[in-house]
Symmetry: C2
Subunit: 241 residues, 2 copies
Amino acid sequence: MSQHRPTGPNGRSGGVPALPDLPEATVARLPEYLRALHHIAETGNDTISSEGLAAAAGVNSAKLRKDLSHLGSYGTRGVGYDVALLIDQIEFTLGLTQRRAVALVGVGNLGHALAGYAGFASRGFRIAALFDADQARVGEPINGLDVRHISELATVAAAESIAIGVIATPAAAAQDVADALVAAGVTSILNFAPCVLSVPEGVDVRKVDLAIELQILSFHEHRKSALTSLPGGLAEEAVGT
Amino acid sequence: MSQHRPTGPNGRSGGVPALPDLPEATVARLPEYLRALHHIAETGNDTISSEGLAAAAGVNSAKLRKDLSHLGSYGTRGVGYDVALLIDQIEFTLGLTQRRAVALVGVGNLGHALAGYAGFASRGFRIAALFDADQARVGEPINGLDVRHISELATVAAAESIAIGVIATPAAAAQDVADALVAAGVTSILNFAPCVLSVPEGVDVRKVDLAIELQILSFHEHRKSALTSLPGGLAEEAVGT
DNA sequence: CGCGATTTGTGCACGAGTTCACAAGCGCTT
DNA sequence: AAGCGCTTGTGAACTCGTGCACAAATCGCG
């Protein structure tokens, strides 16, 4: 992040795309494009226009073209994008050419569901191990995997070369689990616990808080109902001039 | 959104805060502040400085102050914010003074977990009804609630005055469910299915895609490992001049 | 072979959001 | 009562992201 790139502004002579330094907003949209592309590929289309792909991904077509231009020119003017090629490019950019191993910590209500979620496997990830602090849960088989005690985390993580951890524990335990994950060599964490994690530099944390999403919706609900019940929304011009 | 506010720039004489027109980014952070405040209140603190609250919420203190300033001046210079007062203010702004009823559609793997998630209840929401299209699941009791058939959605939504719907179905069914929710009067949707929903204007949709979060992390993993294995990261100055 | 239809890639302007830096205000102490 | 230290609230610069609009490029057809 804090180091210069000695390469030119737009690709290098070596032929390797090598770290095009994507905007974070673009990175966040690439998975959405990828999903849309897979869907399009299934319908038998070989090429897709930016307009079509943008519609399938729910974004503006100009934004989509700009996003894709950041990873190089893989479209053909007058034609569109080659679906298969674009899928390969995005998967490479996202580092999905290798199936990544994920450790899931916390096999409670939510963790149980995540362990059984087929969407992970189908999109490039393999849940390699399940952990829990509760001895009563250790040994329980879930989806073909036995729950292990959290104390085994370091050993298993090394053996399976796990770099991504998912925290699905109660908030009170989350920081300890995060520390354990980091100590075990995990450098990316997906946190479902409603709390802030502090991790050393170089470790990425993304947070998913289900209640927060609902609260944001609640705000908009609140605003909508306020609008319809306030004078401003109904009788604005009613006074007449 | 597209209408003028006849009020002055900063509050009205009526005494009601009434739609301060918050930036979306601020709205997304308010729930985080709220969670941090509840935590702080539990530890017995009556007031909290912007610095302290910012740390607890994982944000910059300047950003926090600007966010809070949007909902009015509820801090005391030289002292900080009154925790209880601030909680009330944020809860009011988010429309959490009334407990909102939520309909959950899709009682599969994930939906089952969501139905049992205590975090919803503790943060202002009540799961008022569960629905599924699978007749085999209808009638099954989950967490004190019987699963109902999706065809009952409109009736139940009206009876329970449900304005928020959660979609936890497979992607293939999500659009139909969304249509049904909208038809039943739902104006806010939280979508866990990996697909784009199209809804009429006035309906808010938020999306949570677990695989996308992992793919974003995968990108950063990919970049990190590329950095350490590429010459640029290690032997930059090794050639010497 | 040239022309027009089509679609990508991008320069540019605009808007939203973030961060800095500091004046204004509050309470405590002397 | 006056001064001092602390903290909020905010103006202003800056960064990041978005969207328009159009030139450049490609294909197909006559």
